[in-house]
């Protein structure tokens, strides 16, 4: 069992790394996109194996109940996005927005990003995780700027500077964690290992831990896109290739949040240290309120959904900040469903922007008339992301609001009101986008609907019937977290 797990862990890391090198070397043609999807599929299979077989925690890598859920989600969305990316990129090549050389670079970077995220999730070492998060930041920066238009360059530059400052702050926090640990654990690698840190945390110096958490929350919080550290996020989503927007929203934000969660569990283990919950609750709530109002003024379709990502990451951070088994359960499930829904929305939006030749929302109308599949796909996605029943996100938002009501009614009112504001904005926009008479240019869509359908089916299923095994699993992880 453990040996199989070890192979699976190695495969989850080696497959993306090796295919990144391979895709960088291979000359460009249509096979590279398929190879990219195949590599992502193999990674996903290896990750799914981790459910059944799990290696013993090593000094650098660990598989535990928390990160296995993240890894499976991450590799699954990585795979479906790679499938979507195949049809998206083919169009970009034809329209000349990307040259074959850039395409080769794009595929290599895609796999490097997968490697970075998997490494960050699997690492049993705060320093290693930091390096992995940095790696994934760098690759996404390069991909955001890949079109080399002035807007794309601005977005990449902004993301670069803000992201770098964020990870610099996170590193300072990491050093402080080591300092507080090494008096108790002793010098060396053990003082940076997750499983050791959580076990020994009750004896750490609380003052140092407090300071470190502030830096870590601000640092990794920048990567999560929490207000007021979110400035890079809408630009990066709007100007890069759409598969990257899907991966950013669906996965990279989760990875950063995962880092925050790991440190939160260290903090919670120390009774004398500051309670991390209120900090996360306030940043999360601020993000929800801010982002839901910002949704109204958007003109750019990808930018609007980027703000919606800020809102949802705010909800998840809020839920984890509230803590307790129920809120953690809802937070975990919300994060999973948001990843699936938002990436599927970006799949639709990517094709919509291609057939309409614009991301400017006033120029996109009547999609259900001109492109029924895309239009109804978008409508389904917006209904899901806005949190309407019977979709899964309705259930999780309902859980979060009700559990907040029981403990801090005032916060629940603010949260509920912002959710309604966001709902209004999204439906308002959807009405214009999807219904009415079509305007502007319109090409026939050559989209691959498989990823979209797969994601929406999962989201729908989660709202109607969650398998008891899955509920038990999420409950178990939620209890570990609290």
């Amino acid at each position: 069992m453990t040996e199989l797990g070890l192979y699976a862990v190695v495969a989850v890391l080696v497959i993306p790394a090796a295919s990144a090198a391979l895709l960088a070397l291979l000359p460009d043609d249509r096979t590279t996109a398929r190879l990219n999807a195949l590599a992502a599929f193999l990674t996903f299979t290896a990750a799914a194996l981790l459910f059944v077989a799990r290696p013993v925690p090593g000094r650098y890598l660990i598989v535990d109940d928390l990160n296995v859920a993240f890894i499976v989600l991450s590799t699954f969305v990585g795979f479906t996005t790679a499938v979507f990316s195949g049809s998206y990129i083919a169009h970009e090549l034809e329209s000349g927005r990307l040259t074959p050389l850039y395409l080769r670079f794009y595929h290599a970077m895609y796999q490097t990003l997968m490697f970075g995220m998997n490494l960050a999730l699997l690492s049993n070492n705060v320093g290693l995780m930091w390096v992995a998060v940095e790696l994934s930041t760098l690759t996404t920066v390069l991909m955001v700027g890949i079109y080399r238009t002035p807007a794309a360059l601005e977005a990449a530059w902004k993301y670069f500077l803000l992201g770098s400052v964020g990870i610099a702050l996170a590193l300072f926090g990491t050093i402080l964690v080591y300092l507080s640990a090494h008096e108790v654990v002793g010098e060396g690698l053990d003082a940076m290992a997750w499983n050791v840190l959580v076990r020994k945390a009750p004896d750490f110096d609380p003052a140092l831990l407090n300071l470190s958490f502030v830096f870590l929350l601000l640092g990794y919080g920048t990567k999560v896109g929490l207000v007021p550290l979110h400035a890079w996020l809408p630009d990066a989503h709007a100007e890069g290739p759409t598969p990257i927007s899907a991966v950013l929203s669906g996965l990279l934000l989760n990875v950063a949040l995962f880092a925050v969660l790991r440190f939160k569990s260290v903090m919670s283990a120390n009774a004398a240290a500051l309670a991390p919950g209120p900090l996360m609750v306030s940043l999360g709530l601020l993000s929800v309120v801010f982002a839901s109002f910002m949704l109204y003024r958007r003109q750019d379709i990808k930018r609007m959904f980027a703000y919606s990502s800020i809102e949802h990451m705010g909800i998840v951070t809020f839920a984890f900040g509230m803590g307790g088994p129920l809120a953690n359960f809802a937070g975990l499930l919300h994060m999973t469903l948001h990843s699936l829904t938002k990436s599927a929305i970006f799949f639709c939006v990517g094709h919509i922007a291609q057939v309409k030749g614009t991301q400017h929302m006033p120029d996109i109308r009547g999609l259900t008339m001109s492109h029924p599949a895309l239009g109804w796909g978008l409508a389904f996605g917006v209904v899901a992301i806005a949190g309407l029943p019977p979709m899964g996100l309705f259930m999780t938002e309902f859980l979060i609001v009700t559990t907040t009501f029981a403990r801090h009614p005032a916060l629940a009112v603010v949260l509920g009101a912002s959710l309604l504001v966001a709902l209004g904005a999204l439906l308002l926009r959807l009405n214009d986008l999807a219904f009415g008479d079509p305007v502007g240019r319109s090409e026939p869509a050559r989209a691959s609907f498989l990823p979209v359908v797969a994601h929406f089916a999962l989201v729908m299923a989660a709202g109607i019937w969650l398998p008891p095994e899955l509920v038990a699993w999420f409950t178990h992880v939620a209890t570990i977290l609290s």
């Binding site: 390096v131 360059l153 530059w157 090494h182 008096e183 003052a207």
Partner: protein, 220 residues
């Protein structure tokens, strides 16, 4: 002997804070880049001294990387960029130098007041080093927000990185310091290449990142 070891370590760390202040008031590009080279030289001296007193030879690698990359290669590259783009005197601080310096003094006071009481249980070496390192990080952040110029922001970021390396080497026996410093050097090199490759000047006729803001992609 112990006393002298500590004093020299504090001398270098304090020197780094001093050079951070010097970065704040440079009003010429060339001067800014040269001062940054001095910043990198001081940090590599400091790391080398830590390697010596902590008997940690792997830290010499970090010191050598800091010296080679940040005291020589990057300043030379930046000088070339400055000459190629013709921006010798293009520094426009957002607020006046005097106010920036005052804010800097406030930040140093803040970091000492935050750090010294908290690190009471840590060793003397780590204590003051951390306070100095936090000062350097905060001064770097201040520099990044008080410059409109892309090169100025890059230098601000690299000075933050130097502060972090100071903190990491001050934490006795911290593993992965070499790996982290290598990862950071890659980041920094990419930023510098980014300024060059993105050809901000060619695209925007200026490295003043103010002109970037027109491309928000948010046309009404």
């Amino acid at each position: 002997m112990e006393r002298i070891a500590l004093d020299v370590a504090h001398l270098f760390a304090g020197g780094l804070v001093l050079v951070s202040f010097m970065l704040l008031y440079q009003d010429r590009m060339t001067g800014l880049v040269n001062t940054f080279a001095l910043h990198a030289l001081v940090v590599s001296l400091s790391v080398a001294w830590q390697a010596h007193i902590q008997l940690a030879p792997h830290l010499y690698i970090t010191a050598a990387i800091a010296l080679a990359v940040k005291a020589f290669v990057i300043p030379l590259a930046l000088h070339r960029i400055i000459v190629r783009l013709g921006i010798h005197r293009a520094i426009e601080p957002v607020v006046g130098i005097g106010q920036t310096m005052l804010a800097g003094i406030g930040l140093v006071a803040l970091s000492i007041m935050v750090m010294l009481p908290i690190t009471a249980r840590a060793g003397t070496l780590a204590r003051e080093d951390l306070a100095f390192a936090l000062s350097v990080v905060l001064l770097g952040l201040l520099m990044m927000i008080s410059r409109r110029n892309a090169v100025g922001q890059v230098i601000g970021f690299m000075s933050i990185e130097n502060g972090l390396i100071l903190a990491a080497t001050g934490a006795k026996g911290m593993p992965l310091v070499v790996e982290i410093s290598v990862a950071f050097s890659i980041l920094v090199a990419l930023i510098v290449i980014g300024v060059f490759l993105f050809r901000i000047r060619e695209r925007f006729e200026s490295v003043d990142i103010h002109s970037l803001h027109e491309h928000r992609g948010e046309r009404p």
